[in-house]
């Protein structure tokens, strides 16, 4: 009873938030006495363009090009993210598990991590054959560091008694890895994946603006060059939706893998 009331309240607050944001947008574009603001499209213009079979600037949900841009971005973000997980989780686990290995790796990670992703773009373009791989590499890099660091912290935060109990019961390293380290670090790993996904979209959009022929970041930047305001906003909104869906997907997967948490916290006594 109480829970559903709360849910409702949250639901209404959320809609109030959305409505407020749109009103604010409309107001600042229409009524603020600042010229550069007045040039911006109001919400209605953007929606009209976005869902128009004959868009004024060539991009709407009815134009195949729109989906080409989306597919490019999704493909890049997904492959960078997958690579980051495939390499980052094992590296983080190794770092958390083995002190000697950690000493080597943390020096390298500590040195490279503070370099902002975009600073890699020129070098990446020169190193890699083709811009495609360079953009994916830059996207991969931030996602990778977020995954490694959170996985490492996850392993380190496992209660030492869990390892002691496993050792006293006679388990081999393989059992410890499978039954203690991975499940114990999973909550942190998934926090890392959420951050990694967000960071991936962030640097992907930036990378595409600088060096790409397709993709949402490129779409936004091209529309900027051609001063097509509604298309800029469409590109931004689409990026937002893509980011939201991917992070919701990770959350759902995490909840499925960590049912014990839901059950433990949901039910007391």
């Amino acid at each position: 009873m109480e829970a559903s009331w709360w849910k409702n309240r949250k639901f209404w607050l959320m809609w109030a938030g959305y409505t407020g944001a749109v009103v604010l947008w409309y107001a600042s574009v229409k009524w603020l006495p600042i010229e550069s603001f007045n040039r911006l499209p109001d919400p209605w213009t953007v929606v009209w363009e976005w869902f128009n079979p004959n868009p004024a600037f060539g991009i709407s949900i009815f134009t195949p090009n729109y989906y080409v841009h989306i597919l490019y971005s999704v493909y890049r973000a997904t492959s960078a993210f997958a690579l980051a997980v495939l390499l980052g989780v094992p590296l983080g686990i190794l770092m958390g598990w083995n002190r000697t290995f950690n000493a080597y790796a943390s020096a390298l990670v500590g040195f490279l991590r503070p370099v902002p992703p975009l600073a890699w773009v020129p070098l990446a373009i020169l190193i890699f054959p083709g811009i495609e791989i360079a953009v994916i590499f830059v996207t991969f890099l931030v996602a990778f560091f977020a995954t490694v660091m959170n996985t490492y912290v996850g392993v380190k935060s496992i209660d030492p008694d869990y390892f002691r109990a496993a050792a006293s019961l006679g388990s081999k390293p393989r059992d410890v890895l499978r039954h203690v380290i991975i499940p114990g670090a999973l909550p942190n790993i998934f926090t890392g994946l959420q951050i990694a996904m967000g960071a991936a979209w962030f640097s992907l959009a930036a990378g595409e603006m600088i060096a790409a022929q397709y993709g949402l970041g490129f779409l936004i930047f091209e529309a900027y060059n051609l001063i097509q305001f509604p298309t800029i906003v469409i590109g931004m909104a689409t990026l937002g939706i893509a980011g939201f869906i991917s992070s919701a997907g990770i959350r759902v997967m995490g909840n499925r893998l960590m049912r014990w948490r839901e059950q433990s916290f949901g039910l007391k006594g």
């Binding site: 209660d159 008694d161 869990y162 002691r164 109990a165 496993a166 050792a167 006293s168 019961l169 006679g170 388990s171 081999k172 059992d175 039954h179 203690v180 499940p183 114990g184 999973l186 960590m258 014990w260 948490r261 059950q263 433990s264 916290f265 039910l267 006594g269």
Partner: protein, 265 residues
């Protein structure tokens, strides 16, 4: 169990232990700590908080090494942790991501000592005995404190250890649950007669459970006194009203009192 199968004698001699921490003076925890744990007996180790009880328990179980001295089990020096000496930790060490049954069968399966079917069978028997049948597929987070402690006892017992080391297992439970667990636990011990080192800081709990009480001094600590508890077994809470119980309690209080006076000096 008959006397012939009794084993699990621990002989502890001359333990000394310091903890070293960066940028801090080393903490001297144990100093010339020697005693013997008799097989088939329940030995309670008592001491104030911070005197080194957990450290001693970790050394007995083989998780940490003393700086000096040795622990021998049935004549063999203890080198590291192993399923013949199982420790039940001060805080719960059930893995929260495994169900109660998965937690219990973990040890035997990890050692591949028996088939999954056989272990599961045994686990279900233990769960029934421990009144946890309904909770076999729950996660530890869904159990109450007392149920967790029982599940941990089952998790330890399924490995048929020779010695159990219990580090303040009932700490943090409310008074009612605690008394129920004590009653429960003493039945279990009297049934199995498994060599047990039971650590506590509660005198009444100590006397109620023990065959012998070892009292630790203040850190750097050693065993300063040993009391035989010759109350009859099987025991019920009725012994708490007996003359002998009060005598033992008086004796113990005197030792504890003089020990705390020494600290004040």
């Amino acid at each position: 169990m008959n006397a012939a199968t009794l084993s699990g004698e621990l002989v502890v001699s001359g333990l000394r232990k310091w903890y070293h921490r960066r940028d801090q003076a080393p903490v001297h925890v144990l100093e010339d700590c020697s005693f013997r744990i008799e097989p088939g007996k329940l030995t309670v180790v008592m001491g104030t908080s911070g005197c080194g009880k957990s450290t001693l328990a970790y050394i007995l179980s083989g998780y940490i090494k003393p700086d000096e001295g040795q622990v021998q089990m049935d004549g063999q020096p203890v080198q590291g942790p192993g399923p013949d000496r199982i420790m039940v930790f001060q805080e719960t060490a059930l893995w929260p991501w495994m169900t109660v049954t998965e937690n219990i069968v973990f040890g035997p399966l990890a050692r591949k000592s028996v088939s999954r079917k056989e272990v599961t069978q045994k686990a279900l028997e233990l769960l029934r005995k421990f009144g946890l049948s309904e909770f076999k597929d729950k996660y530890p987070g869904q159990l109450s404190g007392g149920m967790k402690r029982r599940a941990e006892l089952a998790q330890a017992l399924i490995n048929s250890p020779k010695v159990m080391v219990l580090d303040e297992p009932f700490r943090g439970l409310d008074v009612m649950t605690r008394e129920l667990m004590q009653e429960y636990y003493i039945k279990l011990f009297e049934e199995t007669r498994l060599t047990t080192v039971f650590i506590t800081s509660e005198l009444e709990e100590a006397i109620f459970l023990a065959d012998r009480i070892l009292i630790m001094g203040n850190a750097p600590s050693r065993i300063v006194s040993s009391l035989e508890v010759d109350l009859p077994r099987p025991r019920t809470f009725d012994v708490l009203a007996s003359e002998r119980y009060l005598e033992i309690k008086k004796e113990a209080l005197e030792v504890l009192f003089s020990e705390s006076m020494q600290q004040a000096d």
